[in-house]
Each structure stands twice: as structure tokens, then as C-alpha cells.
């Protein structure tokens, strides 16, 4: 009796948490104005001894154009494994942009942090983009400031990917790499199967970021996105309905620093992994 009560309460808790997750079926043909950037490993499940290529991709709907290795853009391009952190090597101009050798079985966290790039947009396009990315607070701020002109924006990338070699160890999980905006899986996705709960935490400068729009996209079904706002602890709880490759994304924007020669600065976090 007691156990069933606990499980009922637990179910209610989960249901409350997941209530925030909304399935969004994107209108086909709608072009988004800003683009995600993510890491697409040549395999998510390499054998020890394999060389894994980390492809960088820019696009939307988990369909991306290749980004060749450009050292002028790379701030950090690293892999964090049990043995420590090391940089991903690569030849300039190459796709995959980075290579890593799997020294030992285990979970590896690949991270790519870019230097900022700039983009200029018309006020109209910028407003639409703020809406698409769930940045209504910035839109409100712009309205309060009476800003209606063209916008110069700095943006930078905080992409991560989780790769598992060998069998999954219960003690292993995602690591925070210290990126400005970062998505951290609070449960190892490789211990998660389709339909199970996967908590993901969104942090900005190492602290939980509340009310951020976090979106999950499946490789084979990119128009049916799951989306949720992070809670006060920066958490969202996804129940990913199908197996395969997943891309989790979030965007955060701040007013650009006075010396940045831009109006706004945005940070684009992604996390890719595969579940069964």
C-alpha cells in the first residue's frame, strides 16, 4: 500500500515536471533566421582504439552544413574522458574538424567553444528570430528601450556531444566543461531508453539558467520537436519518445558589453547523443 502510494506520488511528480514539455510540430517551409551549431561524431558508439571524427554542423532541424576546421574560430575543441581532458587535433580546413582516438572504454564528452562571430540583421528579422528562439525577454527589453533599428549581434557556440565506447558504467555521466552557456545531461543518456525521463540542466556562466527555452530534436523526425522552459534550477525533464540521435539546444542572449561594438551577444548551446 505504502509503495504504491510512493510510486503514485512519484508519478505525479514526474507528470508535473513533464507537463512543461510541449511537443511542437514545426510548420514546414518556415525558415528560421538563426542557426544551431552542433557536433556530429562519425559514430556515437566507437570501439576502443577507434578514431572518431567530430564533424561540426550548422543548420536547423538537425540538418546541417559542414563546418570545416577553422582555427580562427576555435576557442576550445576538447574531449573530456576518465583520463582527463585533451584537445581534438585536426588539419585546418578539414571535415571532420577534429579527431580523437578512443584510448579506453568509457563515456567521452566532446566540446567545441567558438570565438564570437558577428551578424547584422534588420529589425524585422531580428524580432522574428527572438520569437523563434524563445527570447521574448530580449524583445521586451528592446521595446522598453525603444530600439527599432537594424541589429548587430555577436554570437558564439557552446556545442557538446556524448560518445560512449564499450559498455555503459553506472558511475559515468556528462561533465560540465565550463562553457559560457552549457547543457549538461544529468543522467547518462546511454543508460536511458526511449520513453524514460532524461533531466537536462542549462547553465550560464556556471550557474543554473531559469526560463530558458530548451528544445529536443530527433534526427529521423526533426519536425516534431519537444520544447520546455528550464525551471528555477535550470532543469528540464524530457521524455524522449524514440531512440536514435538527439540534439538538445538552447540560446541565451545578453546586452553586448559596451566595448563589443555590437548591440547584443548570444550563446548557442547544443548537446548531441544517441539513445536506444
Amino acid at each position: 500500500m505504502r509503495t504504491s502510494f510512493i510510486s503514485l506520488r512519484r508519478s505525479l511528480q514526474v507528470a508535473t515536471r513533464l507537463a512543461g514539455v510541449v511537443l511542437v510540430v514545426q510548420m514546414v517551409g518556415a525558415t528560421l533566421l538563426a542557426h544551431d551549431m552542433w557536433i556530429e561524431p562519425t559514430t556515437f558508439t566507437p570501439e576502443p582504439g577507434d578514431i572518431v571524427g567530430a564533424r561540426l554542423r550548422v543548420g536547423q532541424d538537425f540538418i546541417g552544413d559542414p563546418l570545416r576546421r577553422d582555427d580562427a574560430l576555435i576557442d576550445q575543441f576538447v574531449v573530456q574522458a576518465a583520463a582527463g581532458r585533451k584537445p581534438l587535433v585536426g588539419r585546418p580546413g578539414a571535415d571532420p574538424a577534429g579527431l580523437l582516438r578512443v584510448d579506453a572504454p568509457g563515456l567521452m564528452v566532446i566540446g567545441y567553444r567558438s570565438h564570437p562571430s558577428t551578424v547584422e540583421q534588420t529589425a524585422e528579422k531580428f524580432s522574428q528570430y527572438l520569437k523563434d528562439e524563445g527570447l521574448e525577454t530580449i524583445a521586451a527589453l528592446r521595446a522598453r528601450r525603444g530600439e527599432t533599428g537594424a541589429v548587430r549581434e555577436l554570437f558564439s557556440r557552446c556545442a557538446k556531444s556524448l560518445v560512449l565506447s564499450g559498455t555503459v558504467q553506472p558511475t559515468e555521466g556528462d561533465h560540465a566543461l565550463g562553457f559560457t552557456l552549457e547543457l549538461v545531461a544529468e543522467k547518462n543518456p546511454y543508460t536511458t531508453t526511449a520513453g524514460q525521463e532524461l533531466p537536462v540542466r542549462l547553465t550560464y556562466e556556471g550557474r543554473p539558467l531559469a526560463d530558458g527555452l530548451v528544445v529536443a530534436i530527433n534526427r529521423n523526425n526533426p519536425t516534431e520537436k519537444l520544447s520546455a522552459r528550464s525551471d528555477a534550477n535550470g532543469r528540464v525533464h524530457f521524455r524522449l519518445p524514440q531512440g536514435g540521435q538527439w540534439l538538445i539546444k538552447a540560446v541565451h542572449m545578453i546586452p553586448a558589453k559596451a566595448d563589443a561594438q555590437a548591440d547584443w551577444e548570444s550563446f548557442w548551446a547544443t548537446l548531441t547523443f544517441e539513445i536506444r
Partner: protein
């Protein structure tokens, strides 16, 4: 300059971790001339070529899987995760027609709707190594409207920065575009001026002539077949007139797209027509009415054969009629040259009718018929 850029870009990213230095870095930042920050450059590249005859071709080279995914998404199809180049090519064949909907090609602000073909790189290759990325080239083709001086380009199927190259015989212009950004109007002025009417006429007169002499052995044999029927002028004039009238009609109609017959049908029939006139020469030396009718019918066929050639030569739209007439006149001149040469060669037989028939008409007709028969079979098999 590049070093300065690296230093201040790095400074920006690390400022948070280096509080003590931030003041100094802000100072350095303020002192360094501001340069554009690096862009995310993809693998897409677009080369637009405008030819002297005002046809244009725009080749978009891109990542096959990204482009295919976007086209399939736009068509609400399931996303193909093809492994082999051949599979990816098949998937492209189904969606390639979607490309022009995401492209804007504007000449002086008049939209042009190009034809699209999608060719996956090395489509016959074995299943790809996961490290290889498959490329695809989309070719968009159309015609620049007469008098247009600028081209504007917009492409909605990439999200990265890419280079657009506008090539003409005179120069290449390169501009960089951000994703679906529309280009500024690019001047077409550097391209070669449209050829004058006289130049077109000269060119196509020459092309028509050389299409018979020396390139058109099948047409030469047909004309010789006509010539061999009789040495009297009258039958030959009847036949040549019928032939010329007929091939002029079909050449014009085919060129304007009114009629179209695939060359796999036209070419064997042309060869068969050679067999017919040669064999008939063996039976008769009289001009029968049906012979004129048949030569007219064969002329219709030969005209369609000429049209195929003329289409491949990409006649400028504005000078279609000039080109057509000049080509026809060239063909005529070629045929008359063949007949005149034949006259000169057989002139000495003129008074020895029997010997001429026995030693020239019969053996030559047999050789022509045999050659025609061989071609008929060859063209049918091919």
C-alpha cells in the same frame, strides 16, 4: 592584422577568467583597429556562368546529406539516411525539382525559373567511409532575357557563409553571402556582347555547310543516291527540291519545339532512307511520282536530324530565325557541292549510258545501300 585579431578575439573569450587583466585587455581592445570577426564558412559554393549565347548555368556544389535533408523536409518526405552514393542519387532524383523553389535568379528584377539537375559526386562509388562526406552538384539552367544587365541571386538551402562566383568569358567576380542573403545586383556587363546578326548568319552558314561536308556522310550518301537515279537534270531537280523543302520544314518546326522525335528513332530511319533510294536505283532509272513523295518524306526525317545538331549548338534565342535560315542555306550549299562534284566526276560517262549504269550506278548504289543497311542496324542497336 591576423595576429592582432587572434589576440583580441581570445581576450574577449577569456576575460571572465582573468579579472585582473580585464582592464588592460579593454584598453588593448580599444586601441586595436576593429576588424571583422571570423565567419562560419560552409562547404557550399556557387558558380554562375553566363555564355555568349545568353544561356546561363549555375552550379551549386554542396554537402549531399544537408541538401537532401532540407529538400526532403520541404517535401514532407522521410529523411533518407543513405549510405551509398547510388542511394543518395536516387533520393535526389525524387526531390531535385524542389530546388528552384528555394532559389531566386533575377535578371534586372525579372525572375527566371531555371531547370534543375542534381548529380551526386561519384554516384557509382562503393558505400562511403564514415569519414568521407558526399558532395552533390545542382545545376540550374536557363536563358538570360535579352538586354538584361544585372543578376541577383538568393539561395535558401544553406545556413553558412558561401562564395558566389560569377564567371563570364571576360572576368570572374566573387562575392560572399550569408546563408539565404540576397546578393546585390551583379553586373553582367563584363560578359561578351551578344553576337551581331551578320556574325550569327556567317557562323551558322558555315555550320550548315560543314554539317554536310565533311561531317555528314549519311546525308552525302543520300544525296548521291538521288543523283545516281538519273543523269537528266529534271528528275534530280524534282528530288532535290522536295528534299530541301521537307528538311527545311521539319528543321524549323523541331527547332521551335513544335515537333519532337527522339534521335534513337530519327537516326535509324535516316539510315534506312539511304538504303531505300540506293536500292530503288537498282530497279529503275525513271523518276516515279512515289519517289518524289518518298524523298519528301525522307527530307522530313533528315530535317529532324539537323534540328538535333542545331539544338546542341545552342542557337541564341534572339537570332533563332537568322540562325535557322543561315544553317539551311549552308546545308543546301553543302548538298549542291556534293552534286556538282559528282557531276564533274561522272561527266566523262555522259554519252555512254549503258556503261555508266553498269559501272557506276549499280556498284555505287550497292555500296551505298550496304553502308546504309549497316548504319541502320548499328543505330538500332545503339
Amino acid at each position: 592584422m591576423a595576429e592582432a585579431f587572434d589576440e583580441h578575439a581570445g581576450g574577449l573569450a577569456h576575460r571572465r577568467h582573468r579579472g585582473r587583466w580585464s582592464g588592460a585587455l579593454v584598453l588593448v581592445w580599444a586601441l586595436i583597429p576593429q576588424v571583422a570577426l571570423a565567419h562560419e564558412i560552409g562547404t557550399t559554393r556557387v558558380i554562375a556562368t553566363v555564355a555568349a549565347d545568353r544561356s546561363y548555368a549555375i552550379a551549386i556544389s554542396s554537402d549531399a546529406s544537408a541538401l537532401l535533408g532540407r529538400l526532403e523536409l520541404a517535401q514532407r518526405r522521410p529523411i533518407t539516411s543513405g549510405t551509398s552514393a547510388a542511394e543518395v542519387q536516387r533520393a535526389f532524383d525524387a526531390v531535385c525539382h524542389e530546388v528552384p523553389r528555394h532559389v531566386a535568379v533575377r535578371f534586372d528584377d525579372v525572375a527566371s525559373t531555371p531547370r534543375a539537375t542534381c548529380i551526386v559526386d561519384a554516384a557509382d562509388a562503393a558505400p562511403a567511409d564514415p569519414f568521407n562526406v558526399l558532395g552533390v552538384t545542382v545545376r540550374l539552367e536557363g536563358v538570360v532575357p535579352a538586354g538584361a544587365t544585372t543578376l541577383r541571386w538568393q539561395y535558401g538551402l544553406t545556413t553558412t557563409s558561401y562564395a558566389l562566383l560569377l564567371k563570364s568569358s571576360a572576368a570572374t567576380e566573387t562575392i560572399w553571402l550569408e546563408g539565404d542573403e540576397q546578393s546585390r545586383p551583379l553586373a553582367l556587363a563584363t560578359m561578351a556582347a551578344a553576337p551581331t546578326r551578320a556574325a550569327v548568319a556567317r557562323t551558322y552558314l558555315g555550320l550548315g555547310f560543314t554539317h554536310i561536308l565533311p561531317k555528314g556522310l549519311d546525308h552525302i550518301l543520300f544525296v548521291l543516291g538521288i543523283f545516281l537515279l538519273s543523269r537528266r537534270l529534271r528528275p534530280m531537280l524534282w528530288q532535290i527540291s522536295a528534299f530541301t523543302l521537307a528538311h527545311s520544314i521539319t528543321l524549323g518546326l523541331a527547332l521551335y519545339g513544335v515537333i519532337e522525335l527522339p534521335s534513337r528513332i530519327v537516326e535509324p530511319l535516316i539510315a534506312a532512307s539511304i538504303v531505300y533510294v540506293a536500292i530503288e536505283n537498282l530497279w529503275t532509272s525513271e523518276l516515279k511520282p512515289w519517289r518524289v513523295t518518298l524523298v519528301f518524306a525522307f527530307g522530313l526525317l533528315h530535317g529532324m536530324g539537323f534540328a538535333g545538331v542545331l539544338r546542341e549548338l545552342a542557337l541564341p534565342r534572339s537570332e533563332l530565325l537568322t540562325g535557322l535560315v543561315a544553317f539551311n542555306v549552308g546545308v543546301e550549299a553543302g548538298q549542291l557541292t556534293v552534286i556538282l562534284s559528282a557531276f564533274v566526276c561522272v561527266g566523262m560517262w555522259a554519252r555512254q549510258s549503258d556503261a555508266y549504269r553498269r559501272f557506276v550506278v549499280v556498284p555505287a548504289s550497292i555500296v551505298i545501300a550496304a553502308t546504309g543497311a549497316f548504319w541502320t542496324v548499328q543505330r538500332l542497336v545503339a
